[in-house]
Amino acid sequence: MVAKQAIRRWQSTITTNSEAEISPSLLERARKIAAEHSKLSGANAENYDMATAKRIGELGPVTAALKEYEAARDCLTELNSLLTDPSTDRELRDLAHADLDTAQSSLPRLSAALKTSLIPPHPFATFPALLEIHPGAGGSEASIFAHDLLQMYISLCTRLGLPATLTSYSSDDSAPGGSPALSEATLELSTPGTYDLLRTEAGVHRVQRIPATEKKGRTHTSAVSVLVLPALPEQGGGAGDGDLNYDDPNSDFYVNPADVKADTLRASGAGGQHVNKTESAVRLTHIPTNTVVKCQESRSQHKNREKAWNVLRSKLAQRRREEREEQISNMRRSVMGGVGRTGREDKVRTYNYSQSRVTDHRSGKESLNLDDVMSGGAQLEVVMDSVREWMRESEVLGMLADDEAKRLQEEKENRNGHGKK
């Protein structure tokens, strides 16, 4: 009963909180960070330490955003008290009114900035990206649309000046009508930070259109899934700390070689001197998770193997990350419904050809310029930006849920404590 009330109370705070407001728990979080920041800055002024300096750098944006937000809010309080004070003369009152407007209008922006600064950066945000495309339900129409999506992302990259390499492409030879179709493709973006850019694209993309292969003019619905993985530098960070030390079992990117079965793919039958297959494809299977990675793009078996290992590391790291996120979002869901994340199985976007409309199901953003989206134009970016904004908001809601869960837990413990007495 208490819990239910708490949810209602909490939800009401969310709804009554205008954009300008920020929930007390988030504010408290920001203040704690600011306090730590000033403490560490003081400590480092006397005794410089690299790790502390790094942490100060991380806390800096929150501290700055909080300072600006609090300054604006204090200013607002001041102005309000001026206005309510009957002794304020008229001239000053007019000035205060004018200032009040500017202060009030800047507050939403500052509170949004504060919220955003509180969101910890995604652990893979600075990584380059791998974008994998797999056709889902819908037969060869799905393979054809998978190819269209690939072209869309290639065009986007070209337009943004981001180097993109097609590191793997298997065509779907069974597609009728000779339309280009793919059964699997991987696009590699080498620019750091592209993981964060493409993060919005992971999930199931649905297409509704009359396929070229359809004779009776019926609209079909097919699905293509897009995976976004962090791409890894060729060599690990070596002995250093952090995630990029592949030999560190605590790293997300650690893969125990004993868990991996490697084989070179070759059609069955005689090998060795009997044949001279040019293909030097390498396939790695991570046995505990049954994750399979194949690489065949280079003439060099050695390079294919290195590449396959990197992709396997990325996949497993992504998987570990998703598992953790799943745990967090389950926990959040227990406190409040609806907030979570979209996993790889969730439908994220629909491309409706007959209405020339693209709808993103997460942000609710609609674009009526399908052609521009499909050619990787500015409209695609608009949709992606809306998703990024949605992700930011869900993240803030998630943080609130975490705080609420913590508060409930404390309440419960207190109550139990009283009960014992």
């Binding site: 690939l150 072209q151 290639i154 990259c157 070209t158 180097p163 993109a164 390499t165 097609l166 492409y169 298997s170 065509s171 030879d173 597609a175 000779g178 280009p180 696009l187 079965k261 490697a262 084989d263 070179t264 070759r266 069955s268 039958g269 005689a270 090998g271 060795g272 001197q273 009997h274 044949v275 001279n276 297959k277 040019t278 293909e279 030097s280 065949q296 793009e297 280079s298 003439r299 060099s300 078996q301 050695h302 390079k303």
Partner: protein, 374 residues
């Protein structure tokens, strides 16, 4: 060979005009696309871009068209492009010398790992390593072993202060090419600079040497390095039988038409009685390994049946620890099962290597490390 479905050909044609021709030899669209891309990369500046299939006509199109034409006639892409990547090496290839195979790369890499470990773990003090590669061809095995045992980058310190690798071949073409490959990879910095002194390629008729008395074999193999025991003999000798080589046999047309028979089929003058023509070189290699007291003999074989025959030939000679390595690097060790048993090969993955361990210390180490591995 089954006919290509017309749909596939028309689909290929829509993607690129060269693809239908390449399909003749590649047989599926993905490998045809890969090969076309490799040829494009060889004629153009290396292009790193995401465009699929289509490209504009350029001045190099003529060269590309002739590459495609040659490939469609079955000529190996390695002879057309002139090289084959092998580990971190770039191995030059020319008609008259066998092209390095991916399977060879796999077991050579594993072999280097073993040699490194056995030297460290079985005899902690050894800083010497002496390896002989018979039928070296392009020199790919000898060179890859060097690049792995004494890596070119200074931070990865090689375990061996003294590494000696001798590659032997009967073909003058092969000897010229293997020497070229040493220098080519030194220029690419894919080999340690010591490779010039450490590796040498020499002319030798292996079958003739095996007929010589034991003393002659010893002086041939040890005249420069008497102080050192011979650690490893490795060989990828000709092993295809005349039946397998005939049209309709397991040897593909492209291999028969373009690669040297000398490197594929043992000569029909049978020097070892009671030994199949395909297995002649193994008989020679086992005799040489035993005579020279080599610690380990590792040979490539064509299939599981041949691996079992080689195992039995070796058993007849000496108490040795015999292993068969499959294409996926798994090890089937000598369990003493009868001659015709295919136990351990139920997964239909072919046997690729027979490894014969002669040195008691090494055998002890190997058995322990196999137990640890499982």
């Amino acid at each position: 060979m089954p006919r290509l479905p017309p749909v596939l050909i028309s689909q290929a044609a829509r993607l690129d005009r060269h693809l239908p021709l390449l399909l003749r030899e590649c047989r599926d669209l993905n490998s045809a696309r890969n090969e076309l891309r490799w040829m494009q990369e060889a004629v153009d500046e290396p292009q790193r871009e995401g465009s699929i299939g289509t490209r504009s006509a350029g001045p190099h199109d003529h060269a590309l068209a002739s590459f495609v034409k040659r490939r469609a006639r079955g000529e190996p892409i390695q002879y057309i492009l002139g090289t084959q990547p092998f580990g971190e090496l770039d191995i030059k290839c020319r008609p008259g010398v066998l092209i390095p195979r991916p399977e060879t790369e796999v077991y050579t890499t594993e072999l280097a790992r073993i040699i490194q470990k056995v030297q460290v773990e079985a005899e902690a003090t050894s800083k010497h390593c002496y390896i002989v590669d018979f039928c070296t061809g392009t020199g790919c095995i000898a060179l890859l072993l060097h690049s792995l045992l004494k890596p070119p980058t200074p931070q990865q310190h090689g375990k061996f202060r003294q590494l000696r690798i001798r590659g032997f071949d009967i073909s003058q073409h092969a000897l010229r090419l293997s020497a070229e490959n040493t220098h080519h990879n030194l220029e690419l910095r894919a080999l340690h600079k010591d490779a010039v002194q450490d590796i040498c390629f020499e002319h030798l008729d292996l079958l003739a040497l095996a007929q010589q008395p034991k003393e002659k074999i010893i002086t041939t193999l040890y005249h420069k390095y008497e102080a050192q025991p011979l650690d490893l003999i490795v060989s990828n000798p000709p092993y295809i039988s005349p039946q397998q080589y005939k049209p309709g046999g397991s040897t593909t047309k492209s291999v028969r038409k373009f690669e040297p028979k000398l490197a594929l089929v043992p000569p029909d003058s049978l020097l070892f009685d009671g030994v199949d023509q395909a297995d002649q070189f193994y008989a020679a290699l086992i005799r040489i390994a035993v005579a020279s007291r080599a610690r380990l003999l590792v040979v490539e074989v064509g299939d599981t049946e041949q691996a079992l025959r080689v195992r039995d030939m070796c058993r007849a000679h000496q108490e040795a620890w015999i292993e068969i390595w499959k294409d996926d690097n798994t090890v089937v060790s000598d369990t003493g099962v009868p001659f015709d048993s295919r136990q351990g090969f139920e997964d239909r993955i072919d046997a690729r290597v027979v490894a014969m361990w002669f040195d008691p210390e090494w055998i002890k180490w190997r058995k322990q490390s196999l137990v640890r591995r499982n």
